[in-house]
């Protein structure tokens, strides 16, 4: 069997082969990195710059021939004084805070239990992991079925345990319950993610620390607060970072589960963005909103990573 390199050598003209084999490391480094960077420039950075430019205009993508007018900071001013946008930010905050809070609690709890290494723990771990590998859109879609009053499985199970009438509440259609429906489905889907990271954290703690604590007669409770928690903290914070970025951008699952409704109770930021950009076709305005969202995530993530580094060094 000839390897790729030999086949490439055989095919390449003599001079090219010579040139490749004597290429300096620096040239190879650039040759290897450039394609990826170019692709990202073309499909990520160029669009970002374009978005910035559009955010200062009144452009509408459904009327490409209308005269383009630069409106300065008007779009940004409109957004920051738009009550709908503030409402969307509140809905997003509710969703992000509650889903991450519950995921951390349940995920860390599960990780502590799994770390006891009972029989068949790896089988059950794999079972638990399944939901997070699935497509959020398809998950959102089938949860609309599970959450239907009367015919849905969820209402029947709740009715079975509480004795309430299964058609007396609707998770998706009710203004008070819908924000919790999206939190619940997100928790169902992403708790395993937090669990997996926490488990890695727990397994990174060397045994001798616990042995030393045992010699010092520290109680199990004390060991948890002074050894386990501080040592898992960087992992917990990493899980929060990844979940927060993902949930702040959340679109697919919510779009299919509630599509922002009823009314606009579950209209998280990305859904507002989609409505402005692809339903109302206010391209300029939505570009400004996109920039605001991106700067928020990027800025918050940067600050957070600095804090995380400090926690790690301790």
């Amino acid at each position: 069997m000839s390897t790729l390199a030999e086949r490439a050598d055989a095919r390449a003209p003599r001079r090219l082969a010579f040139r490749l084999s004597t290429m300096s490391d620096r040239a190879i480094a650039w040759l290897f990195i450039t394609p990826s960077v170019l692709l990202l420039l073309a499909i990520n950075i160029f669009p970002l710059l374009w978005t910035i430019q559009l955010s200062f205009t009144n452009y509408r993508a459904n009327r490409p021939n209308a005269p383009l007018r630069y409106v300065g900071l008007d779009n940004y001013r409109d957004i920051l004084s738009d009550p709908d946008v503030w409402h969307a930010m509140q809905a997003t905050a509710h969703f992000v805070l509650w889903s991450i809070g519950l995921e951390m609690l349940i995920g860390f709890g599960l990780a502590l239990l799994i770390n006891r290494r009972f029989r068949a723990h790896s089988f059950w771990t794999t079972m638990i992991l399944l939901p997070m590998m699935l497509s959020p859109a398809v998950v959102g879609n089938f949860w609309t079925f599970l959450l239907q009053p009367q015919i849905g499985l969820f209402n029947s199970v709740v009715a079975f345990f509480t004795g309430a009438d299964p058609s007396s509440f609707q998770m998706i259609g009710d203004v008070a319950l819908a924000p919790w429906a999206i939190v619940m489905v997100d928790v169902w889907m992403w708790t395993p993610y937090v669990m997996l990271i926490c488990l890695a954290g727990l397994r990174s703690i060397p045994d001798y620390i616990y042995e030393a604590a045992e010699v010092d007669r520290a109680s199990r409770w004390r060991q948890f607060w002074s050894i386990t928690l501080p040592m898992v903290m960087p992992f917990l914070m990493l899980a929060i970072l990844f979940r927060a970025i993902e949930n702040f951008k959340m679109f697919d699952m919510v779009n299919l589960l509630t599509s922002g409704g009823p009314g606009s109770t579950t209209e998280v930021a990305s859904i507002t963005l989609k409505r402005e950009a692809f339903e109302k076709w206010r391209t300029g305005y939505s570009s400004a909103l996109a920039i605001i969202l991106f700067v928020t995530v990027f800025g918050a993530a940067n600050i957070y990573v600095r804090v995380l580094d400090r926690v790690k060094q301790r």
Binding site: A5, T22, D25, A29, L31, F32, P35, S36, L39, L40, A42, N44, W50, I106, L110, R116, R117, F118, R119, A120, W124, I128, L129, P131, M133, P136, A137, V138, N141, W143, F145, L146, Q150, I151, G152, S156, P166, P192, Y193, A200, R203, D207, Y210, E211, F235, L238, F248, K249, F251, D252, N255, L256, A269, S270, L273, K274, A290, L293, F298, A301
Partner: protein, 316 residues
């Protein structure tokens, strides 16, 4: 990893283990229940699937799968009686509902789109990612940390935010609703994951292997192809599966940038409708078929899962 010996002093008691096991198993069963329900629903008749109260045990039927793959029209009994007898079992099933098969549904082309776009973008992203990761791992690249962070930061943009200019760009280039456009787009999204993951995997391959090969007269490129690549093959495979899963599951770009020719499964599944709303057995059948490869991959990937979902930040 799990090779670390169990806590000698802090080893949990047998009782603690049993309680832990029972709690975890309970959670797992509750978490799996919705998936089992979808699987069961795919084998129910449309009437049973929306019965009140929900039926756990019902007559099993493959009507959902037949409905998923066909389009049907309702006919009068007189017309049905005038037709020649049904040739196949699925035609007989459809006839028993007073309908005739009008043709195949769009599910097969959508599934093929998912496969073509998924594998195409994965192949490109892994090729680009492997060489870039090698360069970042082995050479002193100026501003390497900044470049790596730049590559990662492209993942922080909400997809809808990027979708606005990409929509305009694709419209100008004629890439709207084409497989090529979607492959390029998913490659760009996946390349950041591929670079970060593969850099971790290649960092773990000792440099001494290549250096020894280069002392033996290999050029740098030959050493890369003949020494590093074979060593990195597990990492490359794991990365490829992660890229494939992303492309397979992606919805936001797919729903905004495709409508027909290049539409993948996620935007298609919610629009599988029968008479009077969503045809739940058919939707459940599509969901089941769509999830099966992912279940397989999850089992295959177990050892590398943590790395994949944290961009290589946690390696166990």
């Amino acid at each position: 990893m799990s090779t670390v010996a169990a806590h000698s002093v802090a080893e949990p008691s047998q009782l603690a283990k049993t309680i832990g096991g029972m709690l975890v198993a309970t959670y797992a069963i509750i978490a799996i229940l919705p998936l089992l329900w979808i699987f069961l629903t795919s084998f129910k008749t449309p009437t049973d699937s929306i019965s009140y109260p929900p039926k756990i045990i019902s007559e099993s039927s493959v009507e959902g799968y037949v409905n998923l793959f066909t389009t049907r029209t309702r006919q009068t009994p007189e017309f049905l009686a005038s037709l020649p007898p049904p040739q196949t079992w699925y035609e007989r099933l459809v006839r028993s509902r007073n309908m005739v098969i009008a043709g195949p549904s769009k599910v097969v082309p959508r599934f093929i789109n998912s496969i073509v776009i998924g594998f195409g973008s994965t192949f490109l992203a892994v090729c680009l990612g492997t060489i870039a990761a090698y360069a970042f791992s082995r050479f002193r690249v100026p501003l390497a940390d900044d470049l790596l962070f730049f590559i990662l930061s492209t993942r922080m943009m909400p997809p809808i935010a990027v979708a606005i200019p990409i929509y305009l760009m694709f419209r100008n280039l004629g890439l709207t609703d084409t497989k090529l456009g979607m492959i390029l787009l998913y490659t760009a999204v996946n390349v950041s994951l591929a670079v970060w993951l593969l850099k971790g995997f290649i960092d773990e391959i000792p440099r001494e292997y290549e250096e020894a090969a280069m002392v033996d007269g290999y050029s740098r490129l030959q050493a890369f192809f003949k020494v590093v690549l074979p060593q990195a093959i597990t990492g490359i495979a794991a990365t490829a599966i992660f890229c494939l899963i992303f492309a397979w599951n992606e919805y936001a770009f797919a729903v905004l940038l495709t409508s027909g020719d290049a539409q993948t499964m996620p935007p298609f599944i919610p629009f599988i409708i029968g008479e009077g709303g969503q045809d739940w057995p058919a939707v459940a059948a599509a969901t089941t078929l769509f999830f099966l490869p992912i279940l397989l991959f999850t089992v295959l990937l177990r050892r590398h899962l943590l790395r994949g979902i944290t961009f290589g930040a946690v390696r166990k």
